[in-house]
């Protein structure tokens, strides 16, 4: 991890695991231990200094740790989805279009993409009057639901989830748990971070303790 003035912070080292299709694996361990960093490395937001990230993309194995930007974008479009903790809002784009966007990128028609987006927003109980508004002024929970809908709208074979339920109430958490179960049934490989124990117990097939990979922890 590289922050400022060329200072290098070792975050995680020697991380090894695999996730099968139809399986939900949860990264566990205390805050700051590097869980989100692992997800961001998998998604290509963080560079990988050493090692490989092999992913089954369009029938062949791609090493994301060394793929060029174009290949990473293609993998993101077709194979690898990501629900981040926070929504990155684009000025003037409505909630329904934010959600529909990944489908448009894959060539689905606008009408169909908007329809699917509306279904998901309805499922996640986002008030109907918000759908046409840009999400910049939404509450944390509302933004998160837009974000979840955006992540779940496609049939990506792999889905990374960074605390998708952190600011949701019990009712909506249950909806997300149900959506995750549906994804698993459809054969999606899921890798997530859930601080909420109830959600974690409901979705996790396996928990990986990330503190085992933390060099700082090892030194202490």
């Amino acid at each position: 991890m590289h922050l400022r003035d060329g200072i290098r912070l070792p975050v995680v080292a020697g991380v090894s695991f695999s996730v099968k299709s139809g399986e939900c694996v949860v990264l566990g361990g205390p805050s700051g231990v590097g869980k989100s960093s692992i997800l961001k490395m998998l998604y290509g937001n963080y560079a990988v200094d050493e090692g490989q990230i092999l992913i089954d993309h369009a029938g062949k194995l791609v090493d994301l740790a060394h793929a060029d930007p174009r290949a990473v974008l293609e993998v993101r479009r077709d194979t690898l989805g990501y629900v981040s903790q926070f929504l990155r809002v684009v000025p003037r784009v409505s909630a329904v279009d934010v959600v529909a966007d990944p489908l448009l990128a894959r060539g689905v028609s606008q009408t169909e993409a908007r329809e699917r987006a509306s279904e998901l927003l309805a499922k996640l109980n986002l008030p109907h009057e918000l759908w046409q508004l840009p999400p910049a002024t939404f509450s944390g929970g509302e933004q998160q639901r837009v974000n979840i809908a955006r992540g779940f709208i496609t049939d990506h074979a792999i889905l990374l989830l960074d605390e998708p339920t952190a600011s949701l109430d019990a009712k909506n958490r249950a909806v997300v748990v149900e959506m995750i179960a549906e994804k698993k049934k459809a054969g999606t490989a899921l890798l997530g971070i859930f601080h909420d124990e109830e959600v974690r117990d409901a979705v996790a097939d396996r928990i990986i303790d990330v503190s085992a990979f933390s060099p700082r922890k090892a030194a202490a």
């Binding site: 590289h2 922050l3 400022r4 003035d5 060329g6 930007p69 174009r70 990155r88 003037r92």
Partner: protein
């Protein structure tokens, strides 16, 4: 889907006397790809853009463009007439100052129509209809078509410049600080517009900006320049979220949070 680069840049350098403009820049630009070139004033980003768009002749190195006929052409070896034709049809250039890209004393409609005539359109009614359609796409009211851009606000001029450039369905658009000097709400509108146009038309674009938020929003890939050199490049998300070079880290950590 095409699988060859639209633009191939190989070891391009430009010196002003003994001073470095830009040095040893190489990259490929793929169809549909948006590349942002960022860096502070004087870092060489505009020099590089000028070398790529044939406004300046590089001191050394080669820039090749994949023409519509499927062949690569070395831009430096093209004749002046051919180069001008390319710039008026298959390329677009959006200047920071709209006055540099527009003809300020002819009507908005004529500014858009002129490029159509360059590609051989001669039917007045057709040209006017297309111009009207493009003004609508860039959110300029139809009843302003006969006004001169002198009577337009800065944001409107910039949108008009974009319409003028995109009307001939170019495959590659160069933009030099397209949102510079606009206030934030106007900027947001322009960014949204550029983003959706680039997406809908499947254009490739090279955008020079010092605004990292603009780069994040519009670009797939990004190059960071300092003192004429490309010091870091990669996926936009990666460069901004995990900058490797101290200078990029400084740039990223200097962004004001709202």
């Amino acid at each position: 889907m095409t699988t060859v680069p639209l633009l191939k840049v190989n070891d391009v350098s430009k010196f002003y006397g003994s001073r470095i403009g830009c040095k040893n820049v190489s990259f490929d630009l793929w169809p549909g790809e948006v590349l942002a070139i960022v860096g502070e004033s004087g870092s060489g980003k505009t020099t590089l853009l000028s070398c790529l768009s044939t406004r300046l002749m590089p001191t050394s190195g080669k820039v090749e463009y994949h023409m519509r006929d499927g062949h690569y052409r070395d831009l430096a070896r093209m004749g002046e007439a051919e180069r001008r034709f390319l710039m008026r049809t298959d390329w677009g250039f959006v200047h920071q100052n709209p006055a540099d890209g527009l003809r300020m004393t002819v009507s908005a409609g004529a500014n858009v129509g002129e490029r159509l005539m360059a590609v051989g359109d001669r039917h007045y009614g057709q040209i006017r209809a297309t111009a009207t359609d493009w003004l609508r796409r860039v959110e300029i009211e139809e009843d302003r078509i006969d006004d001169q851009p002198r009577a337009f606000s800065g944001g409107m001029r910039q949108r008009l410049q974009i319409a003028r450039n995109l009307v001939t369905s170019p495959r590659l658009v160069f933009m030099d600080e397209p949102t510079g000097g606009l206030d934030v709400s106007v900027q947001a509108r322009l960014l949204d517009l550029v983003r959706s146009l680039v997406h809908d038309l499947g254009l490739s674009a090279i955008i020079v900006t010092h605004d990292l938020a603009v780069a994040r929003l519009l670009s797939h890939r990004m190059m960071v320049m300092k003192d004429g050199l490309v010091i870091e490049q990669g996926l936009t998300d990666r460069v901004l979220d995990d900058p490797r070079e101290p200078y990029t880290q400084l740039l990223v950590s200097s962004i004001l949070q709202v």
